[in-house]
């Protein structure tokens, strides 16, 4: 499976994306609404024309191949089940069109129904099913086809939160079990992190970063990726590299020490990124890098999210503390940001600087 370069439309919405996908890999396309992730998926499916570049599946360029001949199966956001057909007919429709023998179809549908625990529901119509069951049928329809590629278009966005978590796990298990190359579109970065073998973070038609979830998390390639992946989002502070090149001087004044090897020249305007979970409240023995006044405390049980503002800063920082931490509004927290957890971005281009 080799997806190469694509661009699309009279107003360009996808500005050339290169991506090579290994057999059996689960690729998650993630980004905010309107970033082109669904369009990209639909181009792979053959529902949108490819303006330039080419898409190939197992070495065969499929730009001009009809969707039905691409050997793909798709799960739609609203499931797109045929409302007048039973579950069995829904799942077997594609096979019947391909003229497969009746007993062979039955065996395949039965097998898929067993995998998805749909055995009891085969004679029902979609309107008699719950959201989660419809979701399973939509997946069943994809599985029976035994395609080279699965395409998921935000399949969980119509489910309630609890079911979404459950189905997420099921999709992951299913994909591992079938070992079928899959593309999965979502705007939910948690889904992306948990499901992906590799993820493509998209913004405004550009693939900002392609990589394994933890790599993307640990080394976001741009400000956009840094802000999008991880919840709560990374904190950004504007500053300037100090004259000795060893620290960042924040707008507010205090310098924050950097590790070696960032490679940024002294005096360069940068944005410093630090994740809420990396900020620490300094106790005895260590001097704080800066202090911030608490404006809001969100207690989540396991964690406590503290919104705090550095004097003179334009927006709040978020600090993730242990659930047992006792903080209240108006406190001034002495905070430190370990050098190893700092991310540097160029203030103009938003690109990552150094390692």
């Amino acid at each position: 499976m080799r997806a190469v370069k694509k661009s699309y439309g009279s107003t360009q919405v996808i500005h050339g994306i290169d991506c090579e996908v290994a057999d059996g890999e689960l690729i998650v396309l993630v980004g905010p609404s309107g970033c082109g992730k669904s369009t990209l998926l639909r181009m792979i499916a053959g529902l949108e024309e490819i303006t330039a570049g080419e898409i190939a599946i197992e070495g065969r360029v499929v730009n001009d191949v009809e969707p039905k001949d691409r050997d793909i199966a798709m799960v739609f956001q609203n499931y797109a089940l045929y409302p007048h057909m039973s579950v069995y007919d829904n799942m077997s429709y594609g096979l019947r069109i391909r003229g497969m023998a009746k007993d062979e179809i039955e065996a395949k549908v039965k097998k898929a129904a067993d995998i998805l625990q749909l055995g009891q529901l085969l004679q029902r119509t979609p309107r008699q099913l719950s959201g989660g069951q419809r979701q399973r049928v939509a997946m069943g329809r994809a599985i029976v086809r035994d395609p080279k590629v699965f395409l998921f278009d935000e399949p969980l966005s119509n489910l309630d939160a609890k079911l979404r978590v459950q189905m997420r796990v099921e999709i992951k298990q299913l994909q591992h079990r079938l070992a079928t190359t899959s593309f999965y579109v979502t705007h939910d970065q948690v889904e992306a992190m948990t499901l992906a073998d590799r993820m493509v973070v998209m913004n405004a038609g550009v693939a900002e970063q392609i990589g394994r979830p933890l790599d993307v998390y640990a080394k976001p390639a741009s400000l956009f990726v840094a802000g999008f992946i991880g919840s709560p989002a990374m904190n950004f502070l504007g500053g300037r590299i100090s004259s000795d090149g060893r620290a960042v001087e924040l707008a507010g004044g205090a310098p924050i020490a950097l590790g070696n090897g960032h490679g940024a020249a002294s005096g360069r305007a940068v944005t410093l990124g630090v994740r809420p979970e990396n900020l620490v409240v300094t106790g005895n023995g260590r001097a704080p890098d800066f202090s911030a006044a608490v404006t809001l405390v969100e207690t989540l049980g396991a964690d406590t999210l503290v919104h705090a503002r550095i004097a003179g800063a334009a927006s709040d920082l978020i600090v993730r503390l242990d659930g047992a931490a006792v903080v209240k509004e108006g406190d001034v927290l002495p905070l430190a940001a370990p050098a190893a957890s700092l991310h540097l971005f160029d203030q103009d281009s938003g690109k990552r600087i150094g390692e």
Partner: protein
């Protein structure tokens, strides 16, 4: 209802009953008159109770027609009406569902022009274009034929528009799912569009059947052969204004007979579209 008060209930019921009487009384009186002998009707002595000769009257109406002016028996006229109404209803549904499918799902050159052309015909019912249409039908040699009766009434925009509106509500994902499942345009039409349109088709059938059954002006113009009379035209022919007496008992019986098929269609099809309404998804 916001609140229930005995007085407002009473007024509401009085109005309803007044409406019912206005609608039902003529029908009831026709029914009563159709069971009396001609002499009583002529003397105005029939009252509000059924008369003694229902079978004779209906037999005469069905198989012989009126005596004073020779008219076609009601069986023949009902068959004519039935064929015409069915041809119009089925023909209209078939043509409009196909054209609506084309206009909604295919991107061909002149698509919007085609749509607007269809739309404009809404302004041209048969009565407006009756002379040119008559000329065309006459030149084609279709006078006094079922084709002549029905074809000019088949072409119309209402049903096409209705199907178009309905097709626009079918989610695009369904089309896409079909594409991925490998269904071409024809398969999608037969396997998905037609089954989903079933209730619309049933409702339209009822409306169009009655529309066809009640046609008067057009059949009157293009049929000269009494054997091609439709029942609506036939009733008019039975009523004599000069020279002879009208066989009112036959007219009344024929009128009752003319009412039956539309009632039957509504009663039978009703089950279909009530079911459809209940099952509507989401």
């Amino acid at each position: 209802m916001v609140e229930r008060r005995p007085l407002s209930n009473l007024i509401a019921h009085l109005i309803l009953w007044a409406g019912v009487i206005v609608v039902v009384f003529p029908v009831y009186y026709t029914l009563i008159a159709s069971t009396h002998n001609p002499r009583d009707i002529f003397n105005g002595e029939i009252g509000f109770l059924p008369g003694g000769v229902p079978t004779e009257n209906y037999k005469a109406a069905l198989f012989a027609g009126a005596k004073q002016v020779k008219t076609t028996p009601a069986t023949v006229m009902m068959l004519n009406s039935l064929v015409m109404a069915l041809m119009i209803a089925v023909g209209k549904i078939a043509i409009s569902i196909v054209s609506a499918y084309a206009v909604v799902y295919f991107n061909f050159w002149g698509r919007m022009a085609a749509f607007w052309t269809i739309f404009v015909t809404l302004m041209l019912p048969v009565e407006v274009r009756i002379y040119p249409t008559y000329k065309v039908v006459a030149d084609l040699g279709l006078l006094n034929s079922y084709w002549g009766l029905s074809v000019p009434l088949i072409a119309s925009a209402t049903a096409t528009l209705l199907f178009r509106q309905f097709f626009m509500t079918i989610p695009d994902e369904l089309v896409e799912a079909s594409k991925i499942d490998g269904a071409g345009p024809m398969r999608f039409f037969w396997d998905t569009v037609i089954p989903l349109s079933r209730t619309n088709m049933a409702a339209l059938f009822v409306i169009l059947f009655i529309y066809g059954w009640n046609q008067y002006l057009w059949p009157l113009l293009i049929t000269t052969d009494a054997g091609m009379d439709t029942i609506i035209v036939g009733i008019r022919r039975q009523i004599v204004t000069s020279d002879a007496n009208t066989d009112w008992h036959i007219v009344m019986a024929t009128a009752v007979l003319a009412m039956l098929p539309p009632v039957a269609v509504v009663v039978f099809m009703q089950r279909l579209f009530v079911k459809g309404l209940v099952e509507t998804e989401k």
